[in-house]
């Protein structure tokens, strides 16, 4: 084999259709960047007065400074989303594996549709369900947890009389992010090379061992990115949290009491209707923080996915 002789590049022939298509693709691609930049610019510009104004002149802060105001909200946002993720990911992986590797074909298809349907339920409906059905139903459990596991700081109590705690909100969030995580995991697991699976089985692996050796390592990057997508939704979820959570306190790890930190999005939704003047800017500043958190989460997810890509067998 000799090296191919260097040839002059022949410019591709440009037809009107090509130009039109590449042009519109370029516009679409830059549009998303432009929108993102516009949102970021809006948030930054509107946030400036919240930082520069004397905190004593901003009624919504009630004597605190802006960091003390947004801090508990950031904690509440991340904490609720984290608990939701811890609850949802194992279940989602279980459902995805069941659909991709255990269930009979026809059942798997039906189940897939139902999971996708869950994603179409509006968050207000989840909020109503969480506040009016789940919270009263789960309240006795909180009383029990306080009496029997009260020595764990998470369950220190006093248990909420209504069940509208951050744990309830997280359960609702977990249900809401379940479909998206399940759907992506299922697709990733189905992509596992059949040769890997058959090789594992041929070496005498049981089905569970095959999944552990072939499917899960292959799907790890997919699981991470699915979780991060779910986390993004949980961080930004507004209505369901606003309707379920009894937000009246600062930073606490207690999961079952009435005093919980609010989340950024829910706080904006609840405070905005009566906000005026600089108060609006404070709320927008908290929105900017949420924007930054989401960006950070997505970047971390990207990094993890890129680092794992080489080992996943996808290449």
């Amino acid at each position: 084999m000799t090296a191919p002789a260097p040839t002059a590049l022949i410019p591709a022939k440009q037809r009107p259709g090509d130009r039109l298509f590449s042009g519109s693709a370029l516009v679409a691609g830059s549009l998303i960047l432009a929108v993102l930049a516009a949102v970021a610019a809006f948030l930054v510009i509107q946030s400036v007065p919240a930082v520069t104004t004397d905190p004593d002149d901003i009624s919504i802060l009630r004597g605190a400074n802006i960091v003390e105001y947004i801090g508990p909200l950031v904690f509440g946002t991340v904490w609720a989303a984290f608990i939701a993720l811890v609850l949802a990911v194992p279940v989602a992986i279980g459902i995805a594996l069941f659909i991709s590797h255990y269930a009979p074909r026809r059942l798997a298809q039906g189940l897939g549709y139902i999971i996708d349907l869950l994603a179409a339920v509006p968050s207000v409906v989840f909020g109503l369900w969480g506040g009016n059905v789940l919270a009263p139903a789960i309240q006795p459990l909180y009383t029990w947890l306080e009496q029997n596991l009260g020595w764990i700081p998470l369950f220190a109590g006093p248990a909420s009389g209504t069940g509208r705690t951050i744990l309830t909100a997280s359960v609702v969030l977990a249900v809401m992010i379940l479909p998206i995580i399940t759907a992506i995991c299922r697709e990733v697991f189905l992509q596992t090379p059949v040769l890997h699976e058959e090789a594992a089985l041929a070496l005498g692996a049981t089905r569970w061992e095959m999944i552990r050796m072939a499917v899960l390592p292959f799907g790890r990057a997919g699981i991470v990115s699915a979780s991060m997508l779910g986390l993004g939704r949980a961080l930004g979820e507004t209505m369901a949290v606003a309707m379920v959570l009894s937000a009246s306190g600062g930073i606490t790890l207690n999961l079952i009491s009435s005093s919980n930190p609010s989340t950024i999005a829910a706080n904006i939704a609840l405070s905005f209707p009566e906000a005026y003047g600089v108060n609006v800017n404070v709320l927008i500043a908290s929105g900017l923080v949420l924007f930054a958190i989401t960006l950070l989460v997505n970047t971390i997810a990207r990094i993890i996915v890129n680092r794992r890509k080489d080992f996943s067998g996808a290449n």
């Binding site: 506040g131 309240q139 069940g163 009894s246 306190g249 009435s258 609010s262 609840l270 209707p273 906000a275």
Partner: protein, 365 residues
């Protein structure tokens, strides 16, 4: 057969009653007829903004007023009391709805955008009782004084069979359930008026300044009136406060005034307005009230939300003056107050206040 004749008699009576009330209604309309005939010449757009507590009432008033004056369009933006006052100050609206009147400093500073002078008209046109609601099996009513209510909401009283509650309710079979006090999570006029009551009537227990945002940390919080109702209904041993028209089947507290316990009612709520003096040193048209939450007068229910209509005495634009004048006149009229009572469960103002309000509205030009 006998029953039938009885039924027929009843039907005749009912029809007669209907016809009579029909007459009365017509007459009521006729007395206001002069106004509405004049008013039907009105044209233009009237813009107001302010308290969301007035929203349902404003919607009802707007609809009825526009029916009577087809060429007028009234737009009320329920942006919140603070925003409403700011917009009015800046001249962005012809009138404001607000859960509190402008305070002395604000009135002294003046500079109301739509007005030529610093004189303003403030009318407490929307009065609504706030019910203290609770959810306890088998108990529909409790007697509590202000300091007990305050102690419950500060968290000092933690169980329902506490001595402070039991001593005021010897007949009630109080359980040893823990109390969950539910408050509003969002900024609201209901909270502002409720904390104002606690601050005035139980100053030893409740030391926080009245505010639209719940001033204490901790406790159970729920968003909007419906959220509080859901939390109180769904929980066990819960207590909260909400607009009385929404109390439904929940147990309600009779509040101690003087030596007796008064349950909420529209009449008792309107009575406190009459028992309260107008703030001194204000203009003639300024009916800002110094609500006397500590009154000991009989039959007065002191936990009320009072929301004001605010307009100019003298408008830069004579057309707005005409519109505001007739719209305010409609709102304080018997018909307007009844419309609000039907739509929002508010308490119609007394004839005494109606006279004062009419005099104030007459000043608008």
């Amino acid at each position: 057969m006998k029953f039938n004749t009885f039924g027929r008699a009843a039907a005749v009576t009912a029809i007669a009653a209907l016809a009579l009330t029909g007459c009365a209604a017509n007459e009521g309309g006729a007395t206001g007829g002069d106004d509405s005939e004049n008013a039907s010449d009105l044209t233009g757009t009237l813009v107001g903004s302010g308290a969301s507590s007035q929203q349902s009432a404003q919607e009802a008033w707007t609809a009825a007023f526009q029916d009577a004056n087809p060429d007028v369009s009234v737009e009320y933006d329920p942006a919140g009391s603070g925003a409403g006052r700011d917009t009015f100050l800046a001249g962005g609206s012809a009138f404001a709805g607000s859960d509190r009147a402008f305070n002395d400093e604000e009135v002294a500073a003046g500079g109301f955008g739509a007005c030529t002078t610093d004189g303003i008209v403030e009318i407490p046109a929307y009065v609504s009782p706030i019910a203290v609601i609770f959810n306890l099996d088998g108990i529909t009513s409790l007697n509590l004084d202000a300091s007990t209510i305050a102690s419950i909401f500060t968290g000092d009283i933690t169980t329902w069979n506490d001595e402070a509650i039991a001593s005021q309710n010897p007949d009630a079979d109080l359980p040893d359930t823990a109390i969950t006090a539910v408050h509003r999570q969002d900024d609201s006029g209901t909270t502002e008026n409720f904390t104002e009551y606690l601050y005035a009537a139980a100053p030893d227990v409740w030391t926080e300044e009245p505010d639209g945002v719940w001033p204490l940390d901790g406790g159970e919080a729920a968003s909007q009136t419906s959220g509080v109702l859901d939390a109180v209904t769904g929980g066990t041993g819960t207590i909260g406060y909400a607009d009385a028209s929404r109390a439904g089947d929940l147990g309600t507290v009779s509040v101690k005034v003087g030596d007796e316990y008064v349950p909420y009612s529209a009449e008792a709520a309107a009575a406190i307005i009459d028992a309260s003096p107008v703030v001194e040193g204000r203009g003639e048209g300024d009916l800002a009230l110094d609500i006397d939450r500590t009154t000991e007068e009989a039959g007065v229910y002191p936990v009320v939300l009072v929301s004001y209509l605010i307009g100019c005495e003298e408008y830069e634009d004579p057309a707005s003056a005409e519109l505001v004048k007739s719209y305010f006149s409609y709102i304080v009229s018997d018909e307007g107050q009844q419309v609000a009572a039907d739509a929002a469960g508010s308490a119609p103002i007394s004839s005494d206040l109606f006279d004062k309000a009419t005099a104030a509205i007459e000043l608008i030009k």
